[in-house]
Amino acid sequence: MGFKIVILWTDVALWALAAVLVGYIVRLVRRPHLRANWQRVLRDPAALSAGVVLSLFVLVTALDSLHFRRALADSPAGERFYETRTESVLDLLLSRQIEMRETSYSAPLAYQGFNKDSVAHGSEVVREFPRLAFGGAHLSDPATEWTGDLIRRALSGLAGGALAAVLMAAAMAAILAPSHGGWRHGLRDLLKDRTHYPWRAALLTLTVVALLAGPVIALMGHYHVFGTDQTGNDVLYQSLKSIRTAFVIGALSTLATLPFALVLGILAGYFKGWVDEVIQYFYTVLTSVPNVLLIAACVLMVQVFLDKHPEAFETGAERADLKIFLLCVILGVTGWATLCRLVRGETLKLRESDFVQAATAFGVSDSRIMVRHIVPNVMHLVLISLVLNFSDLILYEAVLTYVGVGVDPTMNSFGGMINLARSEMSRDPLVWWSFAAAFAFMVSLVLAANLFADGVRDAFDPRSRKLRPQVLSLKARKAQAATQAAQNKQGA
């Protein structure tokens, strides 16, 4: 069976972003002075743990960013036809979850439907909770077997998770072995947190993830771990699909602000005078319009355009994808003002500095000064504001989707899930699982992004470091005072 690779706009952008990141890492490896700040980020236990969680989300996003369409089995030999459905590699991995479609709501791990239905027992029709088509379908007598089956599967999943954690600890010890004098010492130092980077924190994070993921993986083949939604789709699958949407919005929108903010900010700060006035006027106009309104206006415009040109897309996925891509562009175009103001301020300061004055005296051209001297020196600002923005945008997506100007309704997103949950929360009995799943995934993603961003800010902006709450330094100071007191006593 053949397939056709589908290249979506956001896929291209995401993979291009990944390529740029790899390029940056290669550059970092070659230049120790650039590396120092990132090493500082990695030495922060919270940032490292957050980084580990984020990379797991990135992995899911990457798997969900390789799209294809299967060839239809019964197409004639000469000509190939493809399914209208666009799938990703993640869909392939979760194909069982997609197949496990019930008729309507079902609670997490349930074997019965959530609503009563007419079920035929021979000739008799009874109103009862129907058995689910897939959830717990392997049980012959669910009333007695269900609890035991759940516990057995969950425990085996936990054991698998624990085994994975032990293996990871062993692998880390093996990596540490050469620099710590043998793997035994490596393991001991790892567990006592006496390593150069806080590997214990990373290991702890991975262990928690493994212990949570183990039971879920063990159960998800036979149950809906997070239940199903109104149309019977698996909520776990929807949550995993929503990660990519959040990432696309967070990453591409911040990226889209970059060219405007950087170029205009540097031009305004470097040339001053009327250039500065014009650029300032531009961003004041933009910032004076309440953000949601401006975005809503742009999205409305795009929406009408897409409605007018239905012929431009082969599948619904392509349409939804173009919409989210344009949304990112809109968020970028409307959101560059803050960073631009920061870059302008920094450039104003930099152009008076000695090295720029020297370059000007040597007759270096303006464009060269800007590219070689100004850009590298404002990059830390750009980086800090990019990582700080990322989590805000993920939260923003939910609000925009709720307002009705976010991503396409056919696309899985946290905003869409919350929007549906709104009516589900007013049902009686309560349907809480979609909401809880969206909450759990969204908070872990945004929290990880925030903690990582804090780490980056602390590392790249020395001024912010002293604003950190420091219990550890307090401990150190107390210890120091105690030893000093002891010494004084001895002296006396």
């Binding site: 006027y281 531009f282 004041t284 106009v285 933009l286 910032t287 004076s288 319009v289 309440p290 949601v292 309104l293 401006l294 809503a296 206006a297 742009c298 409305l300 415009m301 795009v302 009408v304 355009f305 007018k308 989590s391 939260l395 939910a398 609000v399 709720y402 307002v403 009705g404 100007v405 946290f414 905003g415 919350i418 949950a421 709104r422 929360m425 007013s426 309560l430 909401f435 909450f439 969204m442 908070v443 945004v446 929290l447 925030n450 903690l451 804090d454 912010s464 002293k466 604003l467 709450p469 420091q470 219990v471 330094s473 307090l474």
Partner: protein, 327 residues
């Protein structure tokens, strides 16, 4: 001062013209008035006659930017852009595109009152509570309270406001039945409808704001004059309240002032969630109904309020910090 005010006014006017141009261009560069008419009339078979009638009723039957058929200044003034922009600048908002019976100016007047009832308490309480929490964290800096306080802040700001709303509404309205789920009544009865949205709005923004204000306060705490104050023998609370807070007020006011336009425009999400008929809910209705006249009016109003609140912040500066002079 007079010179400052007049310059400020001229710049404000220039910004408003810019905003007007921007929104007009945004709306009409992609969609022609014909598209808007078709969208609004709806239905499958829309005749050209109906479209022309719709356009004539709303004044969209002229050229957009330039009327070549006319003579002199009429080439410029006999256009949709000119007529719409001038009326907006005169604060005549006209009628809704979708429903001709709706007078936008009247709606704005009525709804702004409702929005203010929700937003003014939020704005004031927000400032007091966030600054108080930030002061508390600053007082206990480098201790466990500060550390866990900041952890709590980061956790709170990682949760979408939608979660606060849905959980709060479920818990307080459905389980405890303390307040109605949604709706609004004018007069004193409004309190029971507004209490929950106000409380939830405060809660949803507390984490982010307290952390921000804490950073601003800590920035001041490190300065020499604070050490001098302590050296004089002043107690820590006095140093914080009298010296640090006063000097940290400028950045705090700047960041709080950014919310001022929303005080009038209302919170889109909170109003629509709790069924409060303010300006925020009006905007959402207009967005879902694709009513361009209303959306444009609101964008214009938003910009106006932004400019006004910025001017207000500047005046407050001189009051907070006598070193700031408006010239």
């Amino acid at each position: 001062m007079l010179k400052y005010i007049s310059r400020r006014l001229a710049y404000g006017l220039a910004i408003l013209v810019g905003v007007n141009l921007l929104t007009f261009f945004l709306f009409f560069s992609v969609n022609t008035p014909d598209d808007m008419a078709r969208l609004n009339i709806g239905g499958k078979r829309v005749t050209q006659e109906q479209i022309e009638k719709w356009k004539a009723e709303r004044g969209y039957d002229k050229p957009l930017y330039w009327d070549a058929a006319r003579q002199g200044t009429e080439r410029l003034t006999h256009t949709v852009f000119w007529e719409r922009s001038v009326s907006l600048m005169m604060l005549e908002f006209g009628r809704s595109d979708a429903r001709q019976a709706v007078d936008i100016g009247h709606e704005v007047k009525v709804r702004m009152g409702v929005s203010l009832q929700l937003a003014v308490p939020i704005f004031i309480l927000q400032l007091i509570i966030s600054v108080a929490f930030a002061l508390l964290l600053t007082f206990f800096r480098n201790s466990r309270i500060d550390f866990w306080g900041v952890v709590l802040c980061v956790l709170m700001l990682s949760i979408s406001s939608l979660f606060y709303i849905i959980v709060g509404q479920y818990f307080f309205s459905r389980v405890l039945r303390l307040v109605p789920i949604n709706g609004y009544e004018p007069g004193l009865d409004a309190i029971k409808f507004l209490a929950l949205p106000i409380a939830l709005s405060l809660l949803s923004r507390l984490g982010g704001e307290a952390r921000l204000y804490r950073a601003m306060l800590l920035e001041e705490v490190g300065k020499d004059y604070v050490r001098t104050a302590r050296a004089k023998g002043l107690s820590e609370p006095v140093v914080l309240m009298r010296h640090v807070l006063r000097n940290a007020l400028i950045p705090i006011i700047t960041s709080a002032g950014a919310y001022l336009p929303y005080v009038f425009l209302g919170s889109l999400v909170f109003e629509s969630f709790f069924g409060i008929p303010g300006l925020g809910a009006f905007v959402i209705e207009a967005i879902t109904g694709q009513d361009f006249a209303i959306v444009r009016t609101m964008v214009f109003l938003g910009a106006l309020l932004y400019i006004a609140s910025n001017a207000l912040i500047d005046v407050v500066y001189t009051w907070v910090d006598p070193r700031v002079r408006l010239t």
